[in-house]
């Protein structure tokens, strides 16, 4: 598989063409005695859309959790040229990488607007500045169908709407690299298509995307390259 070969050689190939956004070297993650990821090495260049594919339970999500710092990791992660400290989610959030996590992790008791505006926290502490900023307005405009739910509590929305809010929150952070973990888990086909359509728009703006996707067909619609993960190993 050409994509896989490219992934193995990592930055060496990519760097010639473009600047690397993310470089992962010898990443390994363990939960207790269980090894979830073993020695993963790959790189993502700026402007790329890379899909992490592979069967469930093979460590795709763990890789992403390790990169952003939500899981304890071994190995090295470089983000836009600087080394990311381990176990520090806030650092990655402030250095241009925002995760839209699996199962969304919204703030259920807060309104949709508050959920989205909190995305701005990664670059400002000023509520007024956040509310008048371009990324926030762009984020709210991503899914016009959300508009009539803006003042509703996020916890009362349907799964599809919650996924949209999660993506909008991620975009309010104005990330240079947006990582999306299993965006279509538990969603109907029509909603999944809508989600991918918007992810496509986001990529078209020139943002780098990393998408964890279980369904390879869906991933291929958008991804410029695939990194395949099997049994906790990048192949």
């Amino acid at each position: 598989m050409p994509g896989a070969a490219q992934a193995q050689e990592g930055a060496a190939v990519g760097a010639a063409a473009r600047r690397p956004a993310l470089r992962v070297e010898h990443l390994s993650i363990k939960y207790g005695d269980v090894v979830a990821v073993h020695d993963a090495t790959f790189a993502v260049d700026e402007g790329e859309c890379v899909a992490l594919v592979g069967p469930n339970g093979n460590g795709k999500s763990s890789i992403v959790m390790g990169i952003v710092g939500l899981a304890v990791r071994g190995g090295r992660v470089d983000l836009f040229g600087s080394e990311a400290p381990a176990r520090n989610v806030n650092w990655t959030a402030r250095h241009g990488l925002t995760l839209v996590p699996e199962r969304r992790h919204l703030y259920p008791a807060l309104t949709v607007l508050d959920n989205v505006v909190l995305g701005c926290y990664s670059w400002t502490r000023n509520l007024r500045k956040a509310r008048t900023s371009a990324p926030y307005e762009r984020a709210l405009a991503l899914f016009p169908e959300l508009e009539r739910h803006f003042r509703q509590r996020a916890g009362t929305l349907s799964g599809g709407q919650q996924q949209m809010v999660a993506i909008a929150r991620g975009m309010a952070a104005d990330p240079r690299l947006l990582a999306v973990d299993e965006p279509c888990l538990g969603l109907a086909e029509a909603v999944s298509k809508r989600v991918y359509q918007v992810l496509g728009e986001i990529h078209a703006e020139g943002r780098t995307l990393v998408i964890v996707e279980e369904d390879p067909r869906r991933a291929l619609q958008l991804a410029t390259r695939q990194v395949e993960v099997r049994n906790g190993v990048v192949v």
Partner: protein, 639 residues
């Protein structure tokens, strides 16, 4: 490809026969444990009473035992079953004052008064419990927090109870002209009571009823869907905890011969909780250990009694930091560490069984195939149980459902036959899960009727519907963390659902339930993981455990909520095989987003949108349908 480090592998595969045998063996060891714990109490009690009855050691021993009766009740109610109520000190006071009043004012002997008061408290608790146990978790905790305050206000103002000082009494539990004989007699009575409480308490927690209570504590909704009559169990727990508290209070009065007004109130409540948490909140033994630890620490030296608050503050913090399960948990860990040194193999198995690891994306399990054994005993007996006929088994008519002003379902009519797989599709938020909840009894419809085999079940709660053969899985996996796979499945195979807690003290049929659970696991090809702690499995294995739990009762109706969510393509294909096989025995309602899967297994598919059924048909017409195309697949409508 780099070498993959070995993952913890579950034990060697075992068949249902061996498994059932193991279940029996484990039950036997349980009994040994209960008897030996009781034995320790009796022997220690007799020795202390024989040598130190009138010394400091003896008097604190008896005091600690009286508290241990109360904390044992708390371990069952608060720790193990997680029904957090702060009313123990009130019932302890009721017991103590009750004995004092009956003895001092009415001249009734203390032992008799103790029996009367304990039963009386049970009746009070039953009446009070009917109101308070209806309150959900945190509300019950907060409301019951007021009870000690209410009682304190009353007791300190009531002159006939001695006001804010308290009330003396004269009648020893063991009345005798010789003081030393009374002291020893009192002590032995208390020892006997505690021995009985420890035995029946730990026996209850180890029984099939104990499994019910544990499930209730971890996840009330899942417990109800598996046949646990939750309102009744909650009431029983409240009554049991309150009666043991009253019994402890009665023993206190009968041995200390004075009831201080402070016995009722927040201070006592908090120190009881402290005993429970320091000792180990989930076990009766732990509760007893905690009572002893606190009582002996308090009086160990002059220096300690002066600085008791400081020392207890540090002590609780340190113990809970080391082990949330308290001293009993520390003991258990030490024993495991010891066993690991002596017999490494056995200890590893024990750790695995007791491990509470986080759900991990494992590497070994992911490739495990999902298979179904069509020839096994389970399949045969399930097939035999089904009755013939084409009459509709499950039907609903005119179902409306509204939450507040929001209408989620309107006028749903369905009629499903005895066997087959029936798909229920629709966009997110269409009301699919709500409809499943209405059919399963987790929700009551605003209007309309649900019928099962011609009988109206509209108003029946989930547990009763389960008993009549309606079983289900949940969209988000709802398993009982901290228990093995086989116990998770055994919850659905219990005979105890309709019996009272008292039955669990006398008999345990947990072994039999585990045996049936093994059969169901074997049917789905999962016998090998039976002993693994459930949250250490990968997500798709957890889904299969949930499926095994749902089929283990050989239900007539099986409601599945997105069973393929999070499964890979290969696993979906395997799941489809399993669903087809199950559909030969029972009526399966399948809520699922994977349209290919639904179309390949379901003989009839219903599409729900905005609370109404907009399409009904077989797999072929489903895929060809325009409604389905625009609504579910995001196709542009063909004009």
């Amino acid at each position: 490809m780099a070498a993959i480090p070995a993952r913890l592998r579950p034990g060697a595969p075992e068949g249902a026969d061996r498994a059932a045998g193991e279940g029996r063996r484990r039950r036997a060891t349980g009994l040994t444990g209960q008897l030996s714990a009781t034995g320790v109490v009796v022997v220690a009690g007799v020795v202390v009473m024989a040598f130190w009855a009138q010394q400091y050691i003896g008097s604190v021993f008896v005091l600690a035992l009286t508290y241990a009766v109360v904390t044992a009740g708390m371990a069952i109610q608060i720790g193990f079953s997680q029904q957090v109520a702060f009313s123990q000190s009130v019932f302890m006071g009721l017991g103590a004052y009750g004995v004092a009043v009956l003895n001092a004012d009415a001249g009734i002997p203390s032992v008799l008064a103790m029996l009367i008061v304990t039963i009386g408290s049970g009746i009070v608790a039953l009446l009070l419990g009917r109101i308070v146990t209806k309150a959900p978790g945190l509300a019950l905790a907060v409301a019951s927090l007021m009870f000690p305050l209410i009682a304190t206000g009353y007791v300190t103002s009531a002159n006939y109870l001695g006001g804010s000082t308290g009330m003396p009494l004269t009648g020893n539990l063991f009345p005798s002209s010789s003081i030393s004989a009374s002291v020893v007699g009192n002590g032995l009575i208390v020892v006997a009571v505690v021995a009985v409480v420890v035995f029946i308490g730990s026996r209850l927690l180890g029984s099939d009823l104990g499994l019910e209570l544990y499930t209730l504590g971890v996840n009330e909704q899942a417990a109800a869907a598996m046949g646990v009559v939750t309102p009744r169990r909650k009431l029983e727990l409240f009554v049991l905890g309150s009666m043991l508290a009253a019994l402890g209070g009665a023993l206190y009065a009968g041995t200390q011969l004075f009831v201080p007004a402070t016995l009722v109130g927040v201070t006592t409540e908090l120190s009881l909780l402290m005993m429970l948490f320091i000792g180990g909140r989930r076990s009766v033994i732990g509760a007893v250990i905690g009572a002893f630890a606190i009582q002996y620490v308090q009086g160990a030296s002059n220096y300690i009694s002066i600085h008791i608050l400081l020392i207890e503050g540090v002590l609780i913090t340190v113990i809970l930091l080391i082990e949330p399960e308290g001293l009993a948990g520390i003991g258990l860990r030490l024993r495991q560490a010891f066993r690991r040194r002596v017999a490494p193999g056995r200890a590893a198995a024990a750790t695995r069984r007791g491990a509470t690891g986080t759900a991990a994306a494992g590497t070994g399990d992911a490739t495990a195939a999902v298979t179904v054994r069509q020839d096994g005993a389970f399949a045969t007996s399930w097939a035999a149980q089904a009755t013939g006929g084409d009459a509709s088994l499950l039907s609903c008519a005119g179902i409306d459902m509204a939450f507040g002003g929001l209408k989620v379902l309107s006028d749903i009519n369905l009629a499903l036959p005895q066997r087959g797989v029936f798909g229920l599709c629709g966009p997110n938020g269409a009301g699919k899960t709500t409809l499943l909840n209405v059919l399963g009894g987790s929700l009551q419809a605003s209007s309309g009727t649900v019928q099962l085999a011609g009988q109206d079940i509209t108003r029946l709660p989930a547990a009763e519907r389960f008993r009549r053969g309606v079983s289900r899985t949940f969209q988000a996996v709802q398993l009982i963390r901290g228990r093995s796979v086989v116990d998770n499945v055994a919850v659905a195979c219990l005979d105890s659902n309709r019996s009272s807690l008292a039955r669990g003290i006398a008999f345990s049929h947990l072994g039999a339930a585990r045996g049936r659970a093994f059969e169901a696991l074997d049917y789905l090809g999962m016998g090998a993981v039976a002993d693994v702690e459930v949250s250490s499995l990968t997500l798709e294995r957890q889904r299969m455990v949930e499926l095994a739990r749902a089929v283990a009762s050989k239900p007539r109706v099986l409601l599945l909520d997105e069973p393929a969510s999070g499964l890979s393509e290969v696993q979906r294909a395997e799941l489809a095989e399993v669903l087809r096989e199950i559909g030969r025995h029972t009526c399966v309602v399948l809520v699922e987003h994977d349209l290919d899967l639904v179309a390949s297994v379901a003989e009839r598919i219903f599409v729900l949108a905005a609370g109404g059924i907009v399409f009904e048909g077989d797999g072929e017409s489903f895929k060809a349908s325009d409604v389905v195309g625009t609504l579910l697949m995001g196709r542009a409508p063909t004009a």
